[in-house]
Symmetry: C2
Subunit: 230 residues, 2 copies
């Protein structure tokens, strides 16, 4: 999880500042530290992060491309509201991409891919039983990233990540419980088995089914908390 809004932004001056600011702001937006419709000022962010406005601006431009912020020229920048239509489109695009990649993975899985996925599922099983979502989420992310990158498609993961932000923000609204984490792990295992046994149809179907889990919560949440939706 990101540091809180109040304290502890530790930026490493040795690494490119712009990229760090981007990652930090993105995590804070997804983690709802910055709420939808909240104003984000270049000047104020730069002040609070202890950097100049240039890298902040670069980060905001990148976030705007992912529609996590809305930039109004000469007026201001706000955290974008959660627009149901956009979340649905993101879901659709992610499913299209990840289903295709998973199918490809199942066609010719490398030994390294099998090994990495297997290990990740073990770790997920432990984290799920511990019941701590904050430990689980990075493992979930790693699972999906590994399928893309382990199949020789690094760019597909970057595209998926770009659309995923909208969905993650919704997901963050509902803290999954232990049972839910175990269910997710079970679905991951199913995807893995299909890849391992080189069954593309089954792998694609399992991935599509898995991704639809997120969708289920959206409509419930939209009804519960309409304030932060567009």
């Amino acid at each position: 999880m990101p540091p809180t809004a109040a304290a502890g932004y530790e930026l490493d001056p040795k690494l490119p500042i712009g990229a760090q600011v981007y990652g930090l702001l993105k995590r804070m937006i997804i983690g709802l530290v910055f709420k939808p419709n909240e104003a984000l000022s270049e000047k104020e962010l730069a002040l609070r992060l202890g950097v100049s406005r240039t890298p902040v601006r670069e980060a905001l431009i990148r976030l705007a491309e992912e529609t996590l912020v809305d930039v109004f020229p000469q007026r201001g920048t706000i955290v974008s509201p959660i627009r149901v239509a956009e979340v649905m489109e993101a879901q659709f695009l992610r499913e299209a991409l990840e289903a295709a990649v998973t199918r490809r993975a199942a066609e010719q899985p490398s030994a390294a891919l099998i090994r990495d996925l297997s290990r990740l599922i073990d770790d997920q099983h432990h984290a799920a039983n511990a019941g701590r979502p904050e430990d689980y989420m990075p493992l979930d992310e790693a699972f999906h990233r590994t399928i893309s990158e382990g199949t020789g498609m690094p760019r597909s993961w970057r595209l998926i990540q770009g659309v995923k932000g909208q969905m993650d923000r919704v997901r963050f609204l509902s803290l999954p419980n232990k049972a839910h984490l175990l269910l997710l792990t079970e679905q991951h295992a199913e995807i893995f088995k299909a890849i391992e046994t080189q069954d593309p149809d089954r792998a694609e179907a399992a991935m599509r089914h898995h991704l639809k889990e997120v969708l289920k919560t959206i409509h419930e949440l939209a009804a519960e908390m309409p304030a932060i939706f567009a």
Copy 2:
């Protein structure tokens, strides 16, 4: 050397400079005005375009995300070489996205979509018979964009555009002749008919077949002119 670059590439000071520089550089890279592996200096580009280095830098960052340029921190920026593996991945991702969108379009096509596509195909037929590729390319682009945006998925077009650059650069190497333009139009018409008659399977298949046309030329070209490939 004049303060502005080659004629026809001038910038409107009233519009956001950064976005204009991005579009201009992208067109020049795809159009091979800037050759693969050619060095691009922030300072020199700014000088030639008559703007400051800041918007040039912003444009280069965006182009780097599309892997049209490679930025080496503190060293320099070059036009990325045409990497066959990247072109193949771009092709794969584009097909996954556009096949899904086309299927969706065929499920519930709006009247406006039918009308717009129909008109575009007429225009393409005329441009193809005239045999001028430079007139045809914008129409081709519009056809694909219209399917995405006319189906309520504006973001899908942005993703497609992001990966398309790599492929367009390859396509630019082989000037299509009149027969080829007519073939493309025929394929567009087939996609259109499938959408119009609400036949998702046929629409998706037609789009996949259409997109594979580009692939055919890649390997031939890679053999012909290995110099500009990675």
